[in-house]
Amino acid sequence: MIFSLNEIEAETRKAVRGAGLPWGLAEEGGKAVRWLAGQGIDATAALADILDRHAAGGLGVGILRDGDGRWISPQDILCPLTLGAAVCDHAWLLAEGRTLAAGEVARPILLLPFAARAARLSGKPLAFVAGRQQVNFDRNGAPAGALNFADIAEAASVTCETYRSDIRGLQREGLERPDLDRPSWEKIEAFAFRTCVPASEHSRRHGAGAGLLDND
């Protein structure tokens, strides 16, 4: 299924909200899946999975620091949108040479857009490590080399820190339209639909302000 980047962002944003997350994280989710799609990566399965887990109560938007200062979930495992937001919000620490570290996170592929943005915000190249995978970004947030990241269900740990040398990433247009997985997209649509209100005769007549037939 081919969609514009705008459609992907809008539907994803509504879906994240439909799964019960706050609008601010819904915006982040929309931008994240959009960024990945623009890079040619279909993250709909990853997103559908975390929304299912949110809806079932297995994932939440909570985030704490443990005794070592690592970010962890008050439940079992971190939501990648929550962790990604925290990473970007703390980007200034990267510029100061600090390492941002977290424990277990679900669907770490969804962290890539946040890592890219954190690099840009810090103004420094960034090394993003999730489990056994690493992606480096240049100071503008462009990935160094091809963006190869396996969409694994969980990573045991995540770190973001300034990369040791000043790399130059691949400047892509970021305007690809990948063919999205149909079942995952339909799941996203179903979550998005939860943000709608069921129609009623009253709503049909009065809600839009144009009567049943507007004609001149």
């Binding site: 601010g24 970007c88 037939l213």
Partner: protein
Amino acid sequence: MAPQPMEKTQHSAPAPSDDAAAPMRPPSVVMRLARLGSFHQTRLSFMRVLLRRLEREGWGFDRTRFDLDPRGNGVAVYRARGPKRSYSLVAFGNDLPPEKRTDRVIAEEWDASFVLFDGEPTDADIARLHENVPKQEAGRVSGRELVMARANKSVRLFDAVAQSLAEGRQPAAGDLAQVGYLMRTTAVYGSGKFGLADRESICVRPEFAGPFQAEMLAVYLIRTFTFDFLNHAARSLSRSALALDPALCRGLGVGNATGLGMAPFLVSHPALIDRWICARETALARARAVGDADRWPQFLTLLARARRLVAGWRVDDAIQSARIAELGRDLDRLADQAARPAALRPWDALYRWGELNLGLEGQEMLASLLIEPHGDLVDDLAEAMACDEDAEFAIDGRMTLSALRDALEAHYNFALTTDFAKPAAQARFWYVSEEKLEPRLGERGEEPGGEREQPLTVARDAAALYRAAAARPGEEHVADFLMAHPHFRAIVRRVQIAARHPYAEVQDNLLDATMRPIDLLRGKLSCFGATKFDPKSDRWVRITMFQGAPLPEEIGRVDADDWIYPPLAAERTA
């Protein structure tokens, strides 16, 4: 219901003593709903910007296909050729049964449907588009299509004019002026909707760098289609039918019916809206700063023409009729006041007089008129109206809560001083219906759905954020606050945008019992260049676009920038 109360207050700071630009009107004045709902078009409006470009760059226009059957079914293609690229409006005519005609989002069929194609379509493209475009939202288009739209005939006008032409008579100009258009669009989509090209893929082209330029080009071409569709209908009635006189064509625009769907745009694009309003206010400030009265005669002529425009602005809505009547009286008094320019800073002096003596419609029309003769001073501002919204998205987590509270106090005072415990303050909720995803406005507590409301709850959220932030240490970083309070993320983002972009936020509570969605619609539509605002309710409005504009074949032969205000009586033809 009483007409809007007039705001007669001096908002401007005292005039500076030198020739520096006049102060800009503050957001607390400009971004009020009542004033946004009183905006008129200016020379920075998107239609005006488009036509200046078409003329400056010598764009050429032709019709490359017109295959409609006698009932109006078929396809037509209109080509616009710019210095580097061509674009084609592909139009599909339809013989629509009258009982199916509606402007509502819930419509399923229309008199005509359109796409603006990137380049020149092949037969295969047209076949693909024929399968999809007449279905509009139920079809799919591709990244090779930039804009998609649909339009319905004016029931009042279309058939009557076709009949008249079929009988060998041109219609009376007065009859056409009553409606102002033969067809009206009920949606004009761009920016990736339904598969269309994303804005990012075309905004690198100079012709589409400005906001909504592709949409405006599509509507401009649709206007030509409406004349051809009409002439075709007349010829189907009688082979000896006349074609509509070009002078009469020029007096017609494309209508548009807009409802709640457009309202959230002003809220969901804060940094972009700031650019539009900031450009407009900067233009006004530059005009006010002009020290001499060299262009006063031009201004007076424009004012006289504006009075003709207002005299021809007739609507059924009682509230708007009263406002138009008051505007007419205000323009009379403005003409008296403006008869002799003040010796010092005459433009600024006239604006300040207007603040004290005119209603909102009058003040905003005066603002448009002050800007109008100063194109060489302000037209460059059109290039500052686009915005890379992605670059505005990131939250500054390092900001402290005390700085956040300062920003709230500076930009959200209207929210902080609202008592949300009062039912009236949260009387409404914005929602999207399951029925064709139509945006609607509900009455909280009286109907279900409030818990699924759309994020237009800015004022309430700002007030709640302020209270929550005040309960924390001032030196705490926003980043840590948001970890503990994730539900404030959206409003924190907005507050930080507003701190960088002063005109980003509508300075009124959008949940209030007295809120009029039409004020949001008119604010945006005025930036497009719409005229003849014709409210059908407090949340539904009709407008006219490009009415009076040169026809495509006239670009380069007549002034492409002097069509908003009707000519004075002595220059009028027929």
